[in-house]
């Protein structure tokens, strides 16, 4: 356990080594939020308007929710794993008496902690300048469901990342592209981080809700907003849990195969 505390600390130090980079990235984040905010603010310029069951307060909460949930779920250091394999740096880790997954998971958590810290600051800043009508959840059960779904989402995303990152074991030159495809397109689109999924046709929604993707962003936010509760909440959590376990097993299977096929090239 102490090992991973040290990993946590050094990761934190590492994040600060690229201060400027980090700040630029945060600025980009804020700009993105402002853009999306004004988009929806225009759509809902008429205060009485309700679209797809979202009024102005809820859609804006959704937008701010995305900011927090994304920085918790989709910001992951483990996105570097593909490069780690491709460059051969993974050898350094494999030679150590330490689990490679736990190493990256710890680095993820440390990076998420840092992100959360900043996201809260940005949140306060944007809140003050934009003054959005904000929906505060007070129901403890909903809050508990929210945190549980976030934890599951983090774990599901970690496994998805590790699975796509294993491609360079077999095809070193494909690594980056496939990675981009999965994270940028599939996840941004299907997780609900661009738009709420429940504005899509019902059949598509039904299919999506069997997949793990909505449980990354959309589901936690809906739970927070109180739009999902009771048996639907339990059902959703069960599907999340199912995916968390299944993806963990599949990921381990793939990695065992991958390490065997690994050619340790590039050094």
């Amino acid at each position: 356990m102490k090992k991973y505390l040290s990993v946590f600390k050094i990761s934190f130090a590492q994040e600060f080594a690229y201060r400027l980079n980090f700040i630029m990235w945060r600025v980009r984040n804020v700009m993105q939020i402002i853009l999306v905010f004004f988009l929806w603010d225009t759509v809902f310029s008429n205060p009485g308007r309700v679209l797809f069951g979202y009024d102005r307060a809820k859609i804006l909460t959704y937008v701010f929710g995305i900011m927090i949930v994304k920085s918790l779920v989709l910001s992951a250091r483990a996105a570097d794993v593909a490069g780690d394999i491709y460059r051969g740096d993974i050898m350094n880790h494999l030679l150590k008496p330490m689990s490679y997954f736990k190493f990256w998971f710890t680095r993820d958590i440390s990076s998420k902690a840092l992100n959360l810290l900043f996201a809260v600051g940005e949140f306060a800043f944007l809140f003050i300048i934009l003054r959005p009508p904000f929906f505060l959840q007070t129901d403890l059960l909903a809050l508990f469901g929210f945190f549980l779904s976030i934890a599951l989402a983090i774990f599901i995303y970690f496994n998805l990342l590790f699975m796509t990152s294993s491609i360079p074991f077999w095809a070193p030159e494909l690594g980056w592209g496939s990675h981009f495809l999965i994270t940028a397109i599939v996840i941004e689109f299907l997780s609900g981080s661009l738009f709420p999924i429940d504005i899509l046709p019902l059949t598509i929604q039904k299919i999506l809700f069997i997949s793990p993707f909505p449980y990354l962003i959309f589901f936690p936010i809906q739970v927070y907003l109180g739009r999902i509760s009771g048996s639907v909440l339990l059902g959703g959590l069960a599907i999340s849990l199912f995916w968390a376990i299944t993806l963990w097993l599949v990921m381990n299977f793939i990695w065992n195969k991958g390490l065997r096929a690994y050619q340790a090239s590039g050094r």
Binding site: K3, V7, N92, L94, K96, Y262
Partner: protein, 332 residues
């Protein structure tokens, strides 16, 4: 158990996809990849006793690095058995990894953006080194490798040689019993090479560590290893004492003369190949079996002030071995 490393009929094949150039080529590679098998290790066997320091040499692409990677558990062997300290390296058990270290000349484990001391602290935690042992170990390594002043400087700002020495510290903090060194002196200046060599020598003595060392720098091998394993094209072509390698593969001896008078060098050609003349010094190469006869003839018929018979340079011998002439010899 006195055998630290055991390799038995080890085979390692790499599967590579052949690329066709151009865009269409890239597509056809993607759709119907042409696989080619590279046979990096073709059935090699050897063993190393505890505390032994063995030089592992061979030309580029011979399979040295591949062997070290299999032994340290990075590569899954295609066939054959490997056992190190009684462990199967591939399982990469923590108890095993805590007792070995692989140092590669071009590999960085140090965190690039942070001072080296941060990596050392991390390794202390990962290897679960007790505080006291860590302190002693660090002090010793830092003093021997003369890196006191470098510990708190961002690694990216260091020179290659400085970094290499710090890499060694990072790799040895946990005091491994088995050390795989892959070209540890690559790219270093002569002083730094000497430093690292001395250090390896001391480490081997002090900790009775078993060391497998590859290098293209023959000084490393000559200074450090008594026993060498020569590998070429995935096969072991020699395994024995360094002196034996020379006795077996050196076909010539070197005769060095000091002349007292200038003479027609054509005459010397009749006795052996003239390697160099810088009056009054002459160096001749003669077949091993004819060395004595040649020497006595030189003394009789030439104005010789001084004469010595020497073995060929190890480097020259090894060059012969690498050039493949050894394969013919070893097949006899």
């Amino acid at each position: 158990m006195d055998k630290a490393i055991l390799v038995d009929h080890l085979v390692k094949n790499f599967e590579v996809t052949e690329k066709t150039p151009g865009l269409m080529g890239a597509f056809s590679t993607l759709l119907s990849p042409k696989k080619k098998v590279v046979r990096a290790l073709k059935d090699i066997s050897f063993s190393v006793s505890k505390g032994e320091l063995v030089g592992f040499i061979g030309p580029n692409g011979a399979g040295k690095t591949t062997t070290l990677k299999v032994l340290s558990g990075l590569l899954y062997p295609t066939a054959g058995i490997t056992q190190v300290l009684g462990f199967d390296p591939w399982e990469r058990r923590p108890e095993y990894l805590k007792r070995i270290s692989l140092v590669m000349g071009q590999k960085n484990q140090l965190w690039w953006d942070l001072p080296a001391i941060e990596t050392f602290e991390l390794n202390r935690a990962i290897y679960e080194i007790p505080k006291k042992v860590y302190k002693e170990s660090l002090d010793e390594l830092v003093t021997l490798l003369e890196v006191e002043k470098l510990l708190n400087i961002q690694v990216r700002r260091l020179s290659l040689g400085q970094r290499m020495r710090l890499e060694l510290v990072a790799a040895l903090l946990h005091q491994p019993e088995i050390l795989f060194l892959d070209e540890p002196t690559i790219g270093l200046d002569l002083v730094a090479q000497e430093k690292i060599r001395n250090f390896i020598y001391d480490y081997n003595r002090k900790h009775s560590a078993t060391i497998l060392l590859t290098s293209h720098n023959m000084d490393d091998v000559i200074d450090l290893a008594r026993r060498v394993i020569v590998i070429d094209d995935g096969r072991i072509i020699f395994d024995g004492i360094l002196d034996e390698l020379i006795a077996r593969f050196a076909k010539e001896k070197i005769i060095k003369l000091t002349l007292t008078k200038e003479i027609d060098t054509k005459e010397l050609e009749k006795i052996g190949k003239v390697k160099s003349i810088q009056f009054p010094e002459v160096i001749l190469r003669v077949p091993r079996s004819a060395a004595a006869v040649a020497a006595s003839e030189l003394l009789q018929s030439f104005p010789v002030g001084d004469l010595t018979i020497e073995e060929e340079d190890i480097e020259d011998v090894i060059r012969v071995v690498f050039r493949g002439e050894a394969k013919k010899l070893s097949r006899k």
